[in-house]
């Protein structure tokens, strides 16, 4: 009998290990399907957005929350394979080249003694040195800073070209100095790819306040400066080449269009009239602009400029919040009676977009001279403001790029993601998720990280869901989405 009891006990212990099984278990193969897509080798191409860049830097957590990595996790439910990323060395962000710092650490929100938040760079030293290449190939080939023509540029991963023709992030995982991003991608024979490129072809122009040149009409990218707008024909031609190369072996894929740069917090955070002033100061400042204002009216009377431009160039400060004085290169050149040219200056209007970084520059003095106040008595240079004329150049290029992307997506029968509409929704009404609303409001909106350009992990999760939804539809797949509410947004120190 004792033996029986022992047996009974053994049986009981055996049963005790039985985890209950679901009728339909989500982790069993076949629960989710990839439909007509083959997800076994997914390769992601793009720029910083694809790399998982956030808070002004690339760092491990950001990479783990990059939309391609989030998607790959979900792909794994439907036959997706391993997904490797060129992970950074740390969570600080920033880069070294042979020990010299070439990129700064990530930004983080700090609270002062009064509880007011402000973004600061993480007080750490970067440890990721681009001279230490990661073992490739990697599935996430997003290269921060890449424009479309960079993806086909040979030598873009050549360390000797960093600062000029090469990119430090690609240096880390390029298979050779002479290779290109697309060559390394194709060499992996991807069965599935995503491509989200073209943002930087207008974004760097915009974030630099439009100091670059619109290269529309110039089809030689080798002659472009880093802040220029890429010619739409160059864009279309390379985009077509990229898709042709990626689909050569029958791979499926998904592509996304380019959002409006003007709705990102980088441009919407600093108001057009950021300068508070009392009546006495305003009167004092106005007296300094009296001659300039009068000159404008005279030139208008003389027919050198329109009345409209003369009015636009009247500079006037009042008690309360005031627009800033800016240099606008699109204003008419006018001779200065005392020799040379009159400054091309005016005050900002609601149509101007002041860049995020200007918030800590406007109101500062030049060399400690109280009469030399930036944005007031000293006009802001071109790089601080994106004027309506400059916005139009960026928008025109974007419209053309997006037409290209949508047409080619359709031609190649790829899943298409309307990132432009998504971002517009974030900026206009907000995008609801199960814990609130993601908006484009800087630092508190939840959708954008502290650099004002790149999404937070929550934002990237939304992007991943948009990709997944489009892939499910195009390829009759059933890949599960993710819950954005479970991803972090802004990091607090």
């Amino acid at each position: 009998m004792k033996k029986n009891i022992k047996l009974l006990a053994l049986l009981a212990l055996g049963l005790a290990a039985c985890q209950p099984e679901f009728d339909k278990a989500v982790d069993e193969s076949g629960f989710y399907t990839s439909g007509d897509a083959d997800l076994t080798n997914y390769v992601a191409l793009g720029n910083s957005l694809t790399a998982g860049f956030a808070d002004g830097a690339l760092y491990i957590q950001g990479q783990e929350n990059s939309y391609p990595n989030i998607m790959a996790q979900q792909f794994s439910h439907a036959g997706g394979g391993e997904f490797t990323q060129p992970l950074m060395n740390d969570n600080f962000g920033g880069l070294l080249a042979g020990g010299t710092k070439i990129a700064d650490t990530r930004r983080i929100l700090e609270f002062d003694a009064e509880g007011n938040p402000s973004p600061v760079n993480l007080d750490e030293e970067p440890t990721t040195d681009i001279t230490n290449a990661v073992e490739g190939p990697v599935n996430n080939m997003g290269v921060p800073g890449a424009k479309i023509y960079h993806l086909v540029a040979e030598g873009y991963g050549d360390i000797s070209g960093v600062g000029d023709t090469a990119n430090p992030y690609f240096v880390r995982f390029a298979s050779s100095a002479g290779t290109s991003v697309i060559a390394d991608a194709v060499a992996q024979s991807p069965t599935f790819f995503t491509l989200w490129i073209g943002n930087n072809d207008i974004l760097s122009y915009a974030t630099s306040g439009g100091v670059g040149v619109d290269q529309t009409g110039n089809i030689n990218p080798a002659t472009y400066g880093s802040n220029d707008i890429t010619d739409p024909n160059v864009f279309a031609s390379i985009y077509s080449d990229l898709l042709s190369a990626l689909t050569e072996n029958g791979a499926g894929g998904a592509v996304a269009n380019i959002p409006d740069i003007t709705s990102i917090p980088y441009f919407t955070t600093v108001p057009y009239a950021p300068v508070p002033m009392d009546a006495a100061t305003a009167a004092q400042v106005n007296s300094g602009y009296e001659d300039y204002n009068n000159a404008m009216l005279l030139y208008a009377g003389a027919g050198l400029i329109t009345q409209e431009e003369a009015q636009k160039r009247q500079i006037s400060f009042q008690e309360g919040q005031n627009p800033v004085v800016i240099v606008d290169e699109d204003l008419t050149a006018l001779p200065n009676p005392q020799g040379g040219e009159l400054p091309k200056i005016r005050q900002t209007t609601q149509e101007d977009l002041i860049v995020l970084l200007a918030s800590s520059f406007i109101g500062t003095t030049v060399g400690g001279d109280d009469s030399q106040v930036n944005g007031v008595s000293v006009p802001l240079e071109d790089r601080w403001v994106l004027t309506p004329e400059e916005q139009l150049l960026a928008t025109n290029a974007q419209t053309s790029y997006n037409a290209t992307i949508e047409a080619l997506a359709s031609q190649y029968e790829l899943a298409f993601i309307d990132a432009k509409s998504m971002l517009a929704q974030a900026a206009e009404t907000g995008i609801p998720y199960d814990g609130g609303m993601l908006t484009s409001t800087y630092a508190t909106g939840g959708a954008f990280s502290l650099d004002g350009v790149h999404p937070t992990a929550k934002g990237y999760a939304l992007v991943a869901n948009a990709f997944i939804a489009a892939i499910n539809e195009t390829y009759s797949a059933t890949i599960p989405e993710v819950n954005p509410g479970t991803y972090p947004d802004v990091f607090v120190k």
Partner: protein, 414 residues
């Protein structure tokens, strides 16, 4: 002396739930084997728990029963919308029971019971999808119940006694769904308190209208376990986040609900006995798990439990002088209402199957073995009362649970 030692050791052991709410129905091996009926079954010192009124009907001078019931509880969770799939790796818990009864004279008996009627032990993978609700919980309570029973007539007896309860709690969860420190580690809080005490009482009545039929009624009062100045440890909180997270303490109250039980047993012949019990547990005492921290913050977790019933059926067959065989079944209603299905006690209605036997080694000494299998139907459920930014954020999916409880005890009597 030995008993004291066992008691001391037992206090260090965690108990675990596998019944409705965080109630643990494993109070005696003989009674467990027959569906945990026993309000009207009077055959051992287990009556200290099942019906203090019945003690004075025991025939032996001294009866002692002790046993332990290791619980292997399993929880599987999945959510098909997001592809989540998690299995809780619950620690093996060991509810125990010790009962002794002494017949002082023909009409009066005394007894004592030490047992573990409430507890919970659930451990999910750290930072799992529901970690903002619970990562890990350990809840244990030990009841110590001195009991007296009086025979009023040959057919009617009553009994009862005070209950002294000692409880421990250890509960860890992430503070929300996404906050981390600079290093990316999820911010979480652990509350821990032990040696929480409370007083209550137990009453029972046994009625034997005929030799074959026994009826019983018992009531155990509610007790409120009030943790005061327990330790609350916050980890991975962002360094400059507003607020104080150092040396925080907490206050919280957890009710151990009252329970009413009625039962009947009928001796079909010398070999066969059938028993029925009906338990009503007054879970509506558990409205909310509110934790008040000394830094001024509070955590409100509505539970809104409803009163629930358990329907029990048991059968006993005396096969020989050596062997008594038992079997049983009970249906245990969950006190959890729709929308309040929290992963810390993910219980829906359960079907429970029991069996066991007593092996009489000698006239005085016996070994009692029992086995319980708890089956919960697969259920789609959610907890809808977690809040973020002032709005309810539901957390749910499909749960499927079971538990296996081999139980072993000894009885001694003369």
């Amino acid at each position: 002396m030995k008993k004291t030692y066992i008691l001391m050791a037992a206090v260090l052991i965690t108990t675990l739930s596998y019944a409705g709410g965080y109630r643990v129905a494993l109070q005696g091996q003989k009674q467990l084997a027959m569906g945990h009926t026993g309000v009207a079954v009077i055959n051992s010192a287990e009556s200290v728990f099942f019906n203090p009124g019945g003690l004075s009907f025991l025939e032996k001078k001294i009866t002692i029963s002790a046993g332990v019931s290791p619980v292997f509880a399993n929880i599987s969770f999945q959510n098909s919308q997001f592809g989540w799939s998690t299995e809780a790796d619950n620690p093996v818990a060991t509810p125990f029971n010790i009962y002794a009864a002494y017949k002082i004279n023909d009409w009066m008996s005394a007894g004592i019971g030490v047992y573990t009627p409430y507890g919970s032990g659930v451990e999910y993978p750290q930072n799992w999808e529901g970690s903002h609700l619970v990562n890990k919980i350990e809840l244990a309570s030990i009841y110590i119940q001195p009991t007296f029973s009086f025979k009023i007539t040959d057919k009617l007896s009553i009994g009862g006694g005070p209950i002294f309860a000692i409880g421990n709690v250890n509960f860890n969860r992430n503070i929300d769904r996404s906050t981390t420190n600079v290093a990316g580690e999820r911010a979480n809080v652990t509350i821990d308190d032990s040696g929480v005490t409370a007083w209550g009482y137990s009453l029972g009545l046994a009625f034997r209208p005929t030799d074959k039929l026994t009826l019983g009624l018992t009531y155990k009062s509610e007790m409120k376990m009030k943790a005061k100045d327990g330790e609350a440890e916050f980890r991975n909180i962002p360094g400059t986040a507003p607020g104080n997270y150092e040396n925080v303490t907490f206050n919280a109250t957890l009710p151990l609900p009252a329970e009413l039980a009625v039962g009947a047993s009928y001796m079909i012949n010398n070999k066969w006995l059938v028993a029925f019990d009906y338990n009503r547990v007054y879970w509506d005492a558990y409205e909310s798990l509110d934790v008040y921290f000394s830094n001024g913050t509070a955590s409100h977790n509505p539970r809104n439990y409803k009163n629930a019933s358990v329907y029990r059926f048991g059968l006993q067959y005396i096969a020989s002088e050596r062997f008594t065989l038992r079997g049983g079944y009970y249906y245990d209603e969950s006190p959890v209402q729709t929308g309040y299905f929290a992963p810390e006690t993910p219980r829906n209605d359960s079907n429970n199957f029991t069996g066991g036997l007593t092996f009489n080694i000698s006239e005085r000494f016996a070994i009692d073995a029992a086995f319980l299998f708890i089956h919960f139907d697969e259920v789609d459920a959610s907890y809808d009362h977690y809040q973020e930014n002032g709005q309810n954020v539901p957390f749910g999916g499909t749960y499927k649970n079971n538990a296996f409880v081999p139980s072993l005890g000894v009885s001694y009597g003369f």
